[in-house]
Amino acid sequence: MKVEINVNGTATTADVEPRTLLVHYLRDNLGLKATNIGCDTTSCGACTVLLDGESVKSCTVLAAQADGLSVTTMEGLSDDGTLSHPVTAAFRQEHGLQCGFCTPGMVMAAVSLIEENPDLTEADVRSGLEGNLCRCTGYHNIVRAVLVAAGKDPDA
């Protein structure tokens, strides 16, 4: 079947099997490889992207379900390849990544979280990231990064 999805501001289209997962559409049809796959039970959040502005796990959305909608991946946060987005800038500033595998999903979950609740506390950030696993950082610096990106003082 044919799907048309606006990805990172660009209209994309492809003929796909109905069972094609959105994450595979992004990675294999479009070559956008930032979005990772870390599990097969919708548990890890490594595949998180924005679908019409909201965080979703793209391993549990069919490309067909996204037909006609818009998707944002981490690649779409900056059009000049720099850390111009407050969330990616804060992740570097606070050392919110190590191996980087959870990072694209974590960043997109954070973007959605901040969008929905600009007045975040540490507890909000921790529960707001409950759908994203990181094996490297112990979350300490991820939480700090999200607070910084939301304009909060992580040491407060």
Binding site: C39, D40, T42, E75, G81, H95
Partner: protein, 755 residues
């Protein structure tokens, strides 16, 4: 001002935060053009003989290029851990028998991965089930053997379980306990992946791995080819934690298939495969016995280990040996005895996992210390202080060859206790108990020492300045998140003055860097980092020699002007300056060097954990953790603390949540991320890190390793804290993970026993 010791942001981050890392499954390398996708058919049964495999239907399925079984595979079965029983060899695809759920049985190769999953379902394997050996008692009694030809389930063993008459004879108090250091899954967020091509008599293998060169050597040996005919390239690696060392059977198979089929082959495992296919860690059944006097002096300590090797002995079979070596922990105990037996069971093979052997030693001795303190009615902090190895006892010999290098164990514990406000915490705990609060407070301590770079303390590095002023650093150590590119650039920058952004660090390509030992055992900075430090120093000397003539000065009078990355004459501001780049333009300016410390280092520290336990439900939550982790001077606090954070989280995770269990048939009960309890941010607090720096004499910068310390320190502190919270109810031990049902059951049982 020196850059060493300062908080430098990672040079690798911009790529990771824009286009994302390039992991094995992301590769678009032209050498992989037209690659086939490998899907493995894995055994759903723990122990069975294979009576037949019918691949005909699978071969007819769309997109299928080949379906292969053991009958098609001429790879020699391998003894993964070479000191295990020689009969316990592992085939790449199961031959007549499967020995664990998840063991590869057939290989399906398709044009597209989706087709592989479809076709794999059509491979028809007939299994004739055998009784599964799941627990270590069954393995030891040997009624059912995994390898009948071996005549035993014992993979390897060392020492007598009997410490000898009189071992505890002069002790006023002796406490003994069976404890479990449970089986856990390393679960790096990137599962394993490999891609291989065979071209012109040479294998090119990309894989997710911690050591390119060791893996190349394994591949060459197992594929039966010359080392020169294997080229291993490690792209970005999404975490390893010890579990991605060496050539896994699947990696060998991918390479072999590429040659056999004449097309590149790619493989990327699913998480479900990873949870049974990748090695597990820990899995030690320990009996601890501690004896001493009522004044707190510990006189004798015995650690008896039955280790689970899983179905095919791998590195995990050997780790109890390291546990035994580190068994005494930070204490000067007159008599220490350890022994172990590693047995095979119908479960996933075990291997290294963050700490690998040392967490098991620390957990055991730190539990023993608490049990002893309880038995003699002394504060656990006081018992520890009474028995610490004193600073003047270093170097402190632990075997004929190995000594703890440097340590300040009492200082570390006192610092942690002071930071935590230990007295106030104890007072708060007492208040809650008196009030009959259902929210109980538990305070747990751990003191630890561990061994880093224990597997070899040598590494190579090279530094080259190019005529355009850029620098290339080559290192035999390769990272999977640790930040080598930043750390090594700092070390080079420190001596050359060349800006960080002009320094590129390369690693993990065996053609570019033929020698190296990778990243494991917290070895990198003190080996690979020091090699770069040494190479940069030697490069400065080389540059001085070349500049001496041009500057018409004595080499001894030359210095580096770091502001302009040039050689100049000391104390003569008007003197000419010759930049490294100018020297490189005249003649290649490159140094390759080897560094060998000749010995391991022994980081140490102390953690204090505070937990709250809901006495009604048994649910425990870690509220705070204070960590003193002393690994010598800190190169970059950003990276150093990052390692501690991740380590602490994994230690808490083992204490509180994670466990791989099997049912009596050997079916894994936590074989996905839905069932296996990796904590999210919501289960963890922020961590309180406290600094302390005691240099080693093993290398010129005094660095020890920090990769595993956090895990080793936090796990026992948290377990001790939860038990401490309910100790007044009569509970003296609960095995990990300290899930609500376990804690509640322990409380119930203690109450029942008290009646």
């Amino acid at each position: 001002m020196s850059i060493l010791g300062t908080r430098v942001h990672r040079v690798e981050d911009p790529a990771f935060l824009t286009k994302g890392g390039t992991y094995t499954d992301d590769l678009t390398d032209e050498r992989l053009a037209g690659a086939l996708h490998l899907t493995l058919v894995r055994s759903p049964i723990a122990h069975a003989t294979i009576t037949s495999i019918d691949t005909s239907a699978a071969k007819q399925a769309p997109g299928v290029v080949a379906v292969l079984t053991a009958a098609d595979c001429d790879l020699e079965p391998v003894l993964v851990f070479d000191r295990a029983n020689k009969k316990m060899v592992r085939p790449y695809l199961a031959t007549d028998r499967v020995r664990f759920v998840g063991e590869p049985v057939a290989a399906v190769l398709t044009e597209h991965p989706y087709q592989g999953e479809d076709a794999a379902e059509l491979v028809d394997v007939d299994y004739d089930p055998l009784p599964a050996v799941v627990d270590v008692e069954a393995a030891l009694n040997g009624e059912v053997l995994l390898f009948p030809e071996a005549g035993t389930n014992v993979a390897t063993a060392k020492g007598s379980a009997d410490p000898g008459a009189g071992f505890f004879a002069d002790c006023e108090v002796v406490v003994t306990k069976q404890i479990l250091n449970q089986r856990v899954a390393p679960a790096p967020l990137e599962t394993r992946a490999a891609a291989a091509a065979w071209d012109d008599g040479r294998y090119t293998v990309f894989c997710s791995n911690q050591n390119a060169q060791g893996t190349r050597d394994d591949l060459a040996e197992r594929l039966g080819v010359d080392v020169a005919d294997v080229h291993v390239i490690l792209p970005d690696v999404g975490g390893g934690f010890g579990a991605k060392i060496g050539a896994d059977p699947e990696y060998v198979l991918v390479a072999w298939l590429a040659r056999r089929l004449g097309r590149p082959v790619r493989w990327s495992e699913s998480r479900s495969e990873n949870m049974t296919g990748l090695v597990h860690g820990r899995a030690q059944h320990q009996t601890i016995t501690i004896g001493g006097d009522r004044d707190g002096t510990v006189k004798a300590y015995q650690l008896k280990i039955v280790g689970e090797a899983g179905a095919y002995p791998a590195f995990g079979a050997a780790l109890p040996n390291l546990t035994g070596m580190m068994a005494r922990g930070t204490y000067d105990i007159a008599r220490k005895h350890s022994s172990y037996v590693s047995v095979v069971t119908n479960t996933t093979p075990t291997g290294a996992y963050r700490g690998a052997g040392r967490p098991e030693a620390t957990q055991a001795i730190e539990r023993a210390m608490d049990l002893f303190a309880r038995a003699i009615g002394m504060d656990p902090a006081d018992v520890r202080r009474k028995n610490f190895i004193a600073p003047e006892q270093f170097p402190y010999e632990i075997t004929d060859e190995i000594s703890y290098d440097t340590g300040e164990y009492a200082k570390a514990l006192d610092l942690a206790l002071r930071s935590a406000g230990y007295e106030q915490l104890r007072a708060e705990q007492a208040r809650r108990r008196e009030r009959g609060d259902t929210k109980l407070l538990g305070i747990g301590l751990s003191s630890y020492v561990e061994i880093t770079a224990g597997g070899g303390a040598s590494e190579n590095g090279s530094v080259e300045v190019h005529p355009d002023g850029t620098v290339t650093v080559l290192t035999g150590s390769s990272p999977h998140g640790q930040g080598h590119a930043t750390a090594w650039a700092m070390l080079a920058h420190e001596q050359l003055g060349i800006p960080m952004e002009k320094i590129t660090v390369r690693h993990g390509d065996t053609d570019q860097i033929p020698e190296g030992a990778g990243t494991m055992g917290s070895r990198s900075l003190q080996t690979g980092g020091i090699a770069v430090h040494k190479a940069a120093g030697e490069l400065v000397e080389l540059a001085k020699q070349r500049a001496a003539d041009l500057l018409e000065a004595d080499v001894a009078d030359l210095v580096v002007d770091k502001d302009v990355a040039a050689i100049t004459v000391a104390g003569v501001p008007s003197a000419r300056k010759i930049t490294f780049a100018e020297l490189a333009a005249q003649e290649q300016l490159r140094v390759h060097t080897e560094w060998d410390a000749g010995k391991a280092t022994f980081p140490f520290g102390a953690h204090v954990a505070v937990v709250e336990v809901d006495a009604e439900t048994g649910k425990a939550a870690v509220q705070r953790i204070w960590a003193v982790d002393d690994a010598g001077p800190v190169l970059n606090p950003l990276l150093f603390d990052g390692q501690r954070h991740g380590g602490i989280a994994q230690g808490i995770a083992q204490a509180m949540l994670e466990e791989v269990t099997y049912d009596e048939d050997g079916q894994p009960l936590a074989a996905s991320f839905a069932d296996y309890g990796i904590p999210s941010a919501a289960e963890l607090p922020s961590f309180d890190l406290v600094g302390m720096e005691t240099p080693t004499d093993a290398n010129p910068l005094g660095y020890k390793g920090i990769g595993e310390a956090g895990t080793i320190g936090s796990c026992p502190a948290v377990q001790n804290a939860v038990i401490d919270a309910v100790a007044h109810l009569g509970v003296d031990h609960i095995d990990m993970p300290l899930t609500p049902v376990r804690v509640w059951t322990a409380i119930q049982q203690a109450a029942g026993g008290a009646k």
